[in-house]
């Protein structure tokens, strides 16, 4: 059963823009991206949208729907009242290129700043071995599709452009956590995550977790554990003393001494 959907879509570029009103034929079971594609095909041939998979796996179609950061291809029309007007804007934390397309290169710069994996020596037979329980914890973080919705929502940079140089953002805290929990990695990232990535800027208000389309518990399972690890390294006087007098943690949990 089809119906006419009322939409407001942001049109414009860096020099300015506004929300345009449209009405488009849709049918039940479609997603917001379908409606936009029909709009593009029938009324606004030059509407710019970034998308690839239409299956919630490529992370390209991030935008904001009724003010909420979401994937266009995973937001069902059936979640809305047919009489409701659906407002679609580009992500509001990034420079807009045109219409719904933003420039997310900030995220690629942050990715490059992140120190990659540094594995220790191989076992005597030339192989590397990891126990299942030791790798399980990081598996959740590998579900990330790099949609950058968490990065876009995080108020640290969304509301404060000036924090961008000092703050890597939740998606990369996820990566820090994954590597710091990796059983074979040897690099101590606890200083980098605080100094370079700006973990202390996060005030654990959990918006990244709220918007993640993969349902990754970014704050509980990555950010807070990393904050606790930073405390171990930097702020806990007892751990510091224990390390000094050699009481605990002689192997630094497999991290190379720094």
């Amino acid at each position: 059963m089809g119906y006419e959907l009322k939409m407001r879509v942001w049109r414009g570029d860096a020099s300015g823009g506004s929300l345009g009103d449209y009405a488009v034929e849709v049918s039940e079971g479609e997603v917001v991206l379908d409606a936009l594609h029909r709009l593009q095909a029938t009324q606004t041939g030059d509407l710019a949208i970034r998308w690839n998979c239409k299956a919630g796996k490529c992370g390209s179609c991030s935008a904001e729907i009724n003010g909420k950061p979401r994937l266009l291809c995973m937001t069902r029309l059936s979640d809305f009242d047919p009489a409701e007007t659906i407002t679609v804007t580009p992500m509001r934390a990034y420079p807009v290129i045109r219409d719904l397309v933003t420039d997310v290169s900030y995220n690629y710069e942050k990715a490059r700043e992140l120190p990659g994996v540094e594995l220790g020596p191989r076992d005597a037979d030339g192989k590397r071995r990891m126990m299942q329980v030791d790798v399980e914890r990081g598996q959740e973080f590998r579900k990330c599709i790099e949609c950058f919705l968490c990065q876009n929502t995080c108020h640290v940079t969304r509301d404060h452009e000036d924090n961008k140089p000092a703050f890597a953002g939740p998606r990369f805290f996820l990566r820090y956590a994954e590597l710091d929990m990796h059983p074979l990695d040897t690099l101590d990232r606890r200083d980098t995550v605080r100094e370079t990535a700006g973990l202390g800027l996060c005030n654990i208000t959990k918006c990244c977790t709220e918007v993640c389309p993969e349902g990754i518990k970014i704050t509980d399972n990555a950010i807070i554990p990393m904050k606790e690890r930073v405390v171990d390294r930097k702020y806990d006087p007892l751990v510091w003393l224990g390390n000094k007098i050699g009481l605990r943690n002689k192997d630094n949990e497999g991290r190379a001494a720094t």
Partner: protein, 270 residues
């Protein structure tokens, strides 16, 4: 606020949020309930009276280390010279624990400081440094308050044991006390409260880190791995326990206040 969502380069949109749901409801409710609790707790802590109705001791005053009423001090009165309410000597521990709690931080940063009020709703501040500087840097000491909270939990558990003591004569049913134990509504409330406080304390993120989260090789520490798995399960409900235990503490204190001021009599089970 020209560096945020209405800054140069960003899509030009006037509204600070286009959200159409009632995003303000949760922060508003949090603000009202937390403020209510703070007012109630402050009044009760400064009162310095009506915190003991034998055999019940209010959690705000336990352990009672100041110049407390007779029967309330089970650990002596090392601070008997303290001129103010005895609650003020010990409240720093539960207060500090909750103030630095990762969940409460989230809740009050959102509801009281509006940083941010809700997701994708622009915050009203022009500058932001998160938890990188004093005083918020102190949040990093949360684990020490957790250690203290374990001690507080043990003391409150002891209070529950004491709350099974026989009641004084005037409350006796029939011809004086017949058995060595008693249980009343007060005992029940205190027991529920302490259970919720333990759930809250053990589901703490720092607890999760300390018992096993800090390890990189669970396989080398099977016992700690098990503990971590349990605490992780509890941890998922940490916000819920934070709320429940907040209410239960207030309810217990208020019930004891009503008993101590003779407004009501304890409901006795046996």
């Amino acid at each position: 606020m020209t560096t945020g969502v209405d800054g140069p380069g960003r899509a030009q949109i006037e509204e600070r949020t286009l959200r159409t749901d009632r995003w303000w409801l949760t922060p508003l409710a949090t603000f009202i309930v937390f403020s209510g609790f703070v007012v109630f707790a402050t009044v009760r802590a400064f009162m310095g009276r009506d915190y003991f109705a034998e055999p019940y001791l209010s959690p705000f005053y336990s352990p009672c280390l100041g110049d407390c009423v007779e029967g309330a001090s089970d650990f002596g009165q090392p601070f008997s010279w303290w001129p103010l309410s005895a609650a003020l000597i010990i409240l720093i521990f539960p207060l500090g624990f909750r103030m630095t709690c990762y969940y409460y931080r989230k809740a009050y940063y959102r509801a009281f400081w509006l940083s941010p009020p809700a997701c994708a709703v622009a915050e009203p501040h022009s500058a932001y440094s998160g938890e990188t500087r004093f005083p918020l840097l102190v949040q990093n000491l949360h684990r020490y308050f957790w250690y203290a909270a374990i001690v507080v939990g043990l003391i409150l558990t002891f209070d529950v044991v004491l709350a099974f003591r026989p009641m004084p004569d005037e409350y006796a049913v029939g011809d004086g006390e017949t058995s060595g134990v008693h249980m009343g509504l007060g005992t029940l409330l205190m027991a529920v409260n302490v259970a919720l406080i333990w759930l809250y304390t053990l589901s703490c993120h720092s607890c999760r880190h300390i018992v096993g989260g800090r390890l990189r090789h669970f396989s080398k520490h099977p016992v700690r791995y098990k503990l971590w798995t349990w605490v992780s399960k509890l941890n998922a409900s940490h916000p819920r326990y934070a709320w429940y235990s907040l209410f239960s503490v207030a309810v217990v204190d208020f019930y004891i206040y009503l008993l101590a001021t003779d407004v009501i009599d304890d409901l006795r089970f046996f």
